[in-house]
Amino acid sequence: MREADEARHAAERVARDSYGRLVAYLSARTRDLAGAEDALGEAFATALRIWPIEGVPQNPDAWLLTVARRRQTDQLRRRGTQRAGEPTLMLLADETAEGGDDGDIPDRRLGLMFACAHPAIERGLRAPLILQTLLGFNAIDIAAAFLIPPATMGQRLVRAKTRLRDAGIPFAIPPRAEMAERLEAVLDAVYAIYGKGWSEWEEDGKESMAGEAIWLGQLLARLLPDAPEALGLVALMGFAEARRPARRTADGAYVPLEAQDVALWNDSLIRQANDALRQANGVGLSGRYQLEAAIQSAHVHRRLTGNDTWPAITALYAHLVRLTGSPVAQLNHAAALAHTEGAEAALAAIAPLSDDRRMQSYQPYWATLGHLHAEAGHRAEAHEALTVAMGLATDPAVRAYLQQKRRALPAD
């Protein structure tokens, strides 16, 4: 019984630590993710049957890989009888010769991530695909995080994997000319995973979603040491994570950045984030994530030292607007402008966004508009915008905060 437990624990440990590495390796040549996952699943099942009797092998990764590859060969042979099987069998022989059973397993995860975030894969599916293939999340957990019915998510993932295989999407690091754009897609997917762990406060499993995203970001930064944007993303997530404990009072009320108790911030995470940002700046060129991390660093610096960093933040946001053209960057730029040039200037900067359909149901737009109108003394406009922001909020703490703000508006 104890051996069975030990075997199960060993398998679980391997699953957590090496799942993505094994899937990436097994699918690198065949491009058949579903097949790789099936083969690995069968290998885990075999391990749970055999290890309690024969003991846990010294290198469980290599053991699992050998069994999984045998399953994969069977799969390919079966399919090979239906199609012209020669090339695949040759590929497989090639792969078997390259990867020794007892040596280190080459890390192909980067190639897998680039495949999952390939432009031919629907944008909204890239993050779910990375969660499933690199981290072994099941469709039910992914569906819960992305607010999609589980059966629908399952079907979409299956379709995406079929597409990866049939469209011949390469499981490889893209050529230099495409690198910047392709990397951005990978980073966007990882940041989307972080967003799932950030926007919802204290939901079961959600915090670990943020942790997984940080882990993936660090992996990317390690595998791509020359990419400042990967470091920028690590820094950005680090700053956000460091402030998490201060975002709520003990009884769950929402605390905006300016009112947060900095003693609750996580010093070591801030140090790590600053290090990552400095390292990124050392490598060069500013991209979106590096800029956003620099903005967060400036916020943190202001709150910790009391120095006015708003002019720097405004300039960084202006740069971000030029770089991305994103309405969200425009919105944040306007909000920062309120601190350097006043609320009326900020409202003027925000005005062009009122025609943007995407903003009509974007909660932070209405909240920002409400705050700016309140500051400028436009009572009726502030009341309306704060009401809409309340209506769009799904977080009760944010809704309560906005309601309090609305109540505090001066009487007519």
Binding site: S361, E384, T387, G391, L392, T394
Partner: protein, 117 residues
């Protein structure tokens, strides 16, 4: 795509909710919905006031009460125009009733040419 959002309430749970907060949340929700080109809908009287009609072989049955006897009853609806099903889900989450019942999201049938209205 146009979606009809069907609000199913546990009428007892709704009555037990803090009323002033609930309707204040609803007012804010309706304002947000209108701004986003949605259509704030209709609230129905409780299912106890429903009457059900069915005809079979010229025999008309008229019965007191709702057609489907369930813990959560259809209580109203609203419409959203959403580009993706995920956007429709986001609106369902924002609706205060999602905290006291269920929101069922149903795409509206658009007839091939003109006709329905």
């Amino acid at each position: 795509m146009r979606y009809m959002m069907l609000i199913h309430h546990d009428e007892a749970a709704l009555a037990a909710a803090p009323q002033q907060q609930l309707w204040q949340d609803y007012a804010a929700f309706n304002e947000a919905l209108t701004k986003a080109n949605g259509e704030s809908g209709i609230r129905l009287e409780p299912s106890s006031k429903a009457t059900t009609v069915r005809m079979r072989m010229d025999n008309t049955e008229v019965l007191d009460g709702p057609h489907i006897d369930a813990k959560e009853q259809l209580a109203g609806y609203f419409f959203v125009d959403a580009e993706t099903p995920e956007d429709a889900v986001a609106w369902a989450k924002r609706c205060p009733s999602s905290r006291y019942g269920s929101i069922e999201i149903r795409p509206v049938y658009i007839p091939p040419a003109g006709g329905w209205k």
